[in-house]
Symmetry: C2
Subunit: 164 residues, 2 copies
């Protein structure tokens, strides 16, 4: 089985301040909160065999901070984690990486919470709330499809880790 952590990018600068959505950077607050959360996750014993990230700057920066906090696992940019992401590509990746212990996917909403719903229930209701720098934890099983078979064990708003 594989632990899959869906992590939404941290707080980024406003759209008005950056005409190209792909280039929006994390704010100072976004960087700081993301780092605190990464450090707490490490302290809690979470580890990543590797981190996959959306190519957008705010996601890539988030993934780099997480990699920093989690002892530098390999970090790979995948186009299918960009907004309006490609779930079939994620399924294909998962199928060809069955031995991975724990993988982080750093990306965007509403994709990540929708993917969690598809993995757990096989369909999307839009009723999971995933905040910026929030985290969803799922377990996937060998020889099972990704749709409707995974176990949801964690939905962590950032304020939980920031408040302790």
């Amino acid at each position: 089985m594989t632990y899959v952590y869906l992590f939404r990018h941290g707080i980024a600068i406003d759209r008005e301040l950056c005409p190209h959505d792909r280039d929006r950077e994390l704010t100072a607050e976004g960087r700081k909160k993301t780092r605190t959360i990464g450090e707490k996750l490490y302290q809690l014993g979470l580890r990543a065999s590797l981190i996959l990230t959306s190519p957008l700057v705010r996601a890539h920066q988030t993934a780099q901070i997480l990699a920093d906090c989690l002892q530098e696992p390999p970090l790979e940019v995948v186009e299918w984690l960009a907004p309006e992401g490609d779930f079939a590509a994620w399924e294909a990746w998962h199928d060809s990486h069955r031995g991975v212990e724990a993988v982080f996917l750093v990306g965007h909403e509403p994709d990540l919470s929708s993917w969690a719903e598809v993995m757990t229930w096989g369909q999307v209701s839009g009723n999971i709330l995933l905040k910026k720098a929030g985290l969803i934890g799922l377990v996937t099983y060998p020889d099972q499809p990704l749709r409707g078979t995974c176990t949801l064990f964690l939905l962590l708003p950032p304020k939980i880790l920031l408040g302790l």
Copy 2:
């Protein structure tokens, strides 16, 4: 809208040590961990307008510890939170208490995670993992039914709060 927290009772003594399942008490470890979690929830700003609990001893003890930690909100024992609980009774309770800000339901598995699924997706897959002294957070909306309309915003395994 109402914040609904589904809280599973803490660690109880083995079935072999207590012939009557309803009378099983929390272990010393179960009491200690439940109290730590209750204190952290209070520290994080969680509040309860009232706490409803299953009548089984391990749930009632859990609810009393939570009440202690959350500044003694009213605590009410309801039979419909006993194992093989009555979701329709919870719906009826919710319908007649629409103004409540935040309610804790202390009970058992698999009822609580199934109820969370019904509230969020309208059906049960059995794919949410709720550990002992774990917590699920949902938002319910005025003038909406409880089935398939609520927002899931929190699924908190006990080790997160115990580890920080």
